[in-house]
Symmetry: C2
Subunit: 318 residues, 2 copies
């Protein structure tokens, strides 16, 4: 084929094959053309094409609990041999017995103890290795698939499409920044330096003549709700022109994104497919979508109805 014909055919190829030809797909493609077509009155220069994605419930699933919680439980079990006292001590005892009600009863204080025991008191490299080891072997309790295959195929296509159009894609998640970085490049094509998440404080010190960074049990940033625009400004330093989320935890990120000048895009993933995934929103204990859904409706933001708008949910099993 002649070059022009090749270009035409390539341009006609569907960049979002797992999205049905419904309103969300049309809105995404219209926005991307509006900001990237040369000569468009709403053209945005490439460096300003910043797109931010929530992770839990937006790029990968989040039920029955955030996957990072499964990592914590598995780490407690793996570390239990070195901590015989955990058999008698809550919330560790409940984790070891697999008693999720007992874990929940320990509340936020218990959660912080579990987080401290599994995420701190080691170097960043040691923690990173513990994540890599876990995510390479752990399986989701319902589907039996690796967590890295519990990602949404339509969102993989969307992030790749945006990058092909000159966008820089960032994760902005309430999840732990160091929990995500070891695998986001391989799974999403998003490198560690484009991952924003909740973090603890770090301390630099010399171990003999070898420098190390230690994870401290002190909160640095909770990258959720009001923390998301803070994380965006701290890490990225400019306002996104497109933001993607699925819960009330993403509302402030979407508000911050939409309040800038020029063309803007905000999208919420609404989990409506109990058969292929999960169906939950206003009353869910994970990924509650209530205020953000009202605001999206009132302001005309794009809302994906997973059941109606996505022809596939997860990628084919490897």
């Amino acid at each position: 084929m002649f070059p022009l014909l090749v270009a035409t055919v390539l341009a006609a190829e569907d960049p979002l094959p797992s999205w049905k030809d419904t309103a969300p797909k049309k809105a995404i493609i219209a926005f991307v053309h509006k900001v990237t077509d040369e000569g468009s009155p709403d053209f945005v220069p490439q460096p300003e094409r910043i797109a931010t994605f929530d992770n839990d419930g937006t790029l990968w699933a989040e039920q029955p609990v955030y996957f990072q919680a499964f990592f914590i439980f598995d780490r407690v079990k793996a570390l239990a041999a070195d901590h015989p006292e955990w058999k008698e001590k809550e919330p560790f005892a409940s984790v070891l017995k697999g008693d999720m009600k007992g874990v929940a009863a320990a509340g936020e204080k218990g959660a912080m103890e579990l987080l401290a025991a599994t995420h701190t008191g080691m170097t960043t490299e040691e923690f990173s290795k513990s994540v890599t080891d876990w995510i390479g072997t752990a399986k989701h309790p319902k589907t039996g698939r690796p967590y890295t295959e519990m990602v949404y195929q339509p969102m993989l296509e969307l992030t790749a499409y945006l990058r092909a159009k000159g966008f820089k894609t960032f994760i902005v998640s309430g999840g732990g920044i160091e929990f995500m970085r070891p695998w986001t490049e391989k799974v999403y094509g998003i490198p560690p330096e484009q991952v924003v998440g909740s973090s603890g404080r770090l301390r630099f010190e010399m171990r003999g003549d070898k420098p190390a960074l230690f994870e401290l049990p002190e909160v640095n940033l909770i990258d959720d709700k009001e923390g998301k625009p803070v994380g965006i400004q701290t890490h990225i330093g400019r306002r996104p022109i497109a933001a993607f989320g699925n819960s009330d935890g993403d509302l402030q990120m979407l508000q911050w994104t939409m309040a800038g000048d020029g063309p803007r895009f905000a999208l919420l993933v609404h989990h409506t497919d109990a058969e292929r995934e999960w169906a939950y929103d206003r009353t869910s204990h994970i990924g509650k979508l209530d205020k953000a859904l009202d605001e999206a409706t009132a302001k005309g933001w794009t809302v994906v109805d997973m059941k109606a708008d996505w022809s596939a949910i997860f990628p084919p099993a490897k």
Copy 2:
């Protein structure tokens, strides 16, 4: 010319014309070839090619005081009309009288008051605008040149060379992150999301129905000394393979960089040229270079002797 010949000629072009053919230039080029030539046993995949640069004294000058201090003094003068009490109140009174000894006498407490008065209590956008306005008009007291022309031509060439070879270049500076971001892309080709610096805490809040981020008078990160590896891990999430600095404030960044596996490069700019720039090191109140110089000598890191190794210091006046 035939394509192969064009490629050969281009490859033969000097990527660092303001560097004399002395040891530092040879070391830089040898390192870059070692990590980027296909088939090199030390080849580093492109995503891992992270290079970090200190700013004050490494990318631009820092005498007679950090340029951010001039910004602070000018802002105090600009804001003085709204603060009649500053005429009687230190350290503001000394700033308004141009009494630098009086400012210095106010010590760190005074410095924090000046920082708070000029950098906080406003939105990130208002602060950014104050920087952009200042840097577009302010002139260096000795040279009369805009501060954005007080940058080192050899370092501009170096950052561009590294990027052309697939490196991602980051600033990691003790200076204020939001003080640098408004101009680093234009001046250095380094976008806001690749700037790491000292920062205050931010607060998200709604101004009516418009979201805003406020600069709070609380320290988030002092990105100097031990804070530099912390800033690198927090923002970038992987260890650089090359790092460039000029003072003891950069020592931990260089140590952290050199302690990784595989090929590594560390460079210190030594200010030795009192005629074309400034000469200072072990006893300087700004950019003190003492311990880091000893460690560079002991470990064979590259040290640039500005007078001997650079054929030009600043870019030609615009």
